[in-house]
Amino acid sequence: MKLTGAEIFVECLKREGVKTIFALPGGVVLKIFDVLHQQKDVQVILTRHEQGAGHMAEGYAKATGKPGVALVTSGPGMTNVVTALADAYMDSVPLVCFTGQVPTSLIGNDAFQEADNIGLSRPCTKYNFLVKDVNDLAVTIKEAFYVATTGRPGPVLVDIPKDVSMNKAEFKYPGSVSIRGYNPTYDGNKWQIKQAAEAITKAKKPILYVGGGVIFSGASEELLELAEMCQIPVDMTLMALGAFPGEHPLSMGMMGMHGTYWANMAVHYSDLVIAVGARFDDRVTGKVSEFCPHAKVIHIDIDPTSIRKNVNVDIPIVGDCKRVLRELNQILKATVNGEQKELRKPWWDQINEWRRAHPLAYEQDPQGSIKPQHLIKRLYELTKDRDPIVATDVGQHQMWSAQYFKLAKPRRWLTSGGLGTMGFGFPAAMGAQAAFPDQLVLCVAGDGSFQMNTQELATAVVNRLPVKVFIVSNGYHGMVRQWQDLFYESRYASSYLDTTPDFIKLAEAYGAVGLRAAKVSEVDDVIKEALTVNKPVVVDVPVDQHENCYPMIPAGGCNHEMILADPPELKKKQAGVKEAGEDKDTVLTA
């Protein structure tokens, strides 16, 4: 039987097991929406902006491990989703984005709502397809899902011209596809793995530097086994939070620009860095020429281009983290004994000393303004038993969340790492909530970043996605203000928001619930109250406007040269008082 392109499209989604798509219609995709409207297997969540659709699909994919699917129209529909595609590309999120296109006969004629979707998305997708013939549609969709989810995952765009969705073809869905130019390497080179095992056995000061790849490949168990067996501390990148249990004694927390003091010191003084599914991003390495200067580097990654892109690697292993770690553990089981623990005792003593010297700290005056760290710490403590999924936007609140949420499991942490997309958190949280309607989904946002996708409040209310948004309101683009404080003599050029909406009224206007904690004593209560509401909740928490996020490695600085608190002259400026003596440790060079 012959089906229209639109019917083929919907059939393909069903065969791929797609339950939910995030979509916004337009002229050239109406036929597809018409078919979607007449079936019940695939739920369509109508978003208020295509960027929201893209981020929701990302949140869905990050939380489930399955590809997120978005469907948008041509022209502006497509250009609006570009930010989400670029975000997914940087953070290796499996996404299949379908875009409408003007009829094939009009392509290139500057038709109404025409854009070069393939050209626009080329640098921000793993691959993209223009379907010119309805007979190719099914196999193209199969290929799109295959490319998005295999190897190093990433976003794939499929551009469907209007006539392709209208024309008819015989429907055959291929069971599998192969692409001759695309053969990801999953199994690591055995000889290299043996070399790595040997290096690990001998190392006196080893450290695991784990990235998001551990989560994508589902290698958390193997990572835990390796770390425990060999007593190796685990530094996590922003993308890896949850890959290793945050409260485990071997967990060092987050490394990098706003990572913990001990995580960064350890990587700097280590003699063996075992990088797993990470890509030596500049926010982690700092000054790349002085990154882990004393260490041999083992790098396990499925993407060969990640290896030796930024730093030299001694033992490169191209392969899937899970498979490589499993094999590595197999070899180590035979060789590792009590000796390593003895060998590494001085290393652990040193690490514990670093931990004691500069713990994450803030001072909460019970009568003073709410410290953002206090809010986030309490939010973590009051929700951790419910195993929440936590989404964040980008900025200070994101870094504090990364520091204080010690997530126990993978796929609980939705954040925009590589691209640093403000406005990501709220729609991403909704995407996760759509996948897991009964789970607690939190979104920590800034008052700046929340306003970048506020319109999706409507989507949350209509689709009953009871996401709990906590807005860390400091009246500024806080991270920008922090950089201005530190590097631009506190000249707050365009970082002060001046007016922000009344978030309670805003939430209520959309039919959501708005709450506020105005005093320190109200923080716990408002968190508890928000958790009891089975509706989208926006909690506005005005915090100390000038709190800055530390530790901090200035861009291009070395990992062992962290700024640990506001420099004295900044403190003076803010406090207006001179307090001699207390500032001596602010810039610490180890």
Partner: protein, 172 residues
């Protein structure tokens, strides 16, 4: 250092822009690029001449391999290769220069492929030095137009006397 990279790609629309986009997006440079179908018409061969230190060349090769439409990448500099380029040169020739132009043509084993009372069009093939040398010699006569193909290259078939073991190229 200059490298010549030979890339087998899918012969379909948009592939050239993916390769070109990779080079521009990552700040790699292209000295010359030539593309034509292979014996199998479903594939094309690109010969890319590029410059960079070892780390950049390694990245170029890896990034090319990562492109889904790229089937095979060979850095020809890893072994012996031969490279050739063709140039078509239209030279102004005053009556007194015509003999000189033909002498130069002869020296470089070039061919005259078109002629008018005031111009010769020459075809010359050779390595890049030869092309540059003939251009230098013809310039005083006045070059009206010049079209160069960019280089194409192919690995030399190794000669393996029984006593010599083939050299193994280390790979990750």
């Amino acid at each position: 250092m200059e490298h010549i990279i030979s890339v087998i790609v899918e012969n379909k629309f948009g592939v050239l822009s993916r390769v070109a986009g990779l080079f521009s997006g990552r700040g790699f440079n292209i000295e010359s690029l030539s593309v034509a179908p292979t014996l199998d018409p479903s594939m094309s061969m690109m010969t890319i001449v590029t410059k960079g230190d070892d780390r950049i060349i390694e990245q170029i090769v890896k990034q090319l391999n990562k492109l889904i439409d790229v089937i095979k990448v060979v850095d020809l500099n890893e072994s012996e290769f031969v490279a050739r380029e063709t140039a078509l040169i239209k030279v102004h020739t005053k009556p007194e220069d015509r003999a000189e132009a033909l002498r130069i043509t002869d020296i470089f084993r070039a061919n005259v492929i078109d002629s008018t009372p005031t111009t010769y069009t020459l075809e010359v093939t050779g390595d890049v030095h030869k092309i540059e040398a003939i251009i230098n010699l013809l310039q005083p006569l006045g070059i009206k137009e010049l079209a160069r193909t960019g280089r194409v290259a192919i690995a030399r078939e190794p000669i393996r006397p029984a006593a010599v073991q083939p050299k193994r190229v280390a790979k990750e």
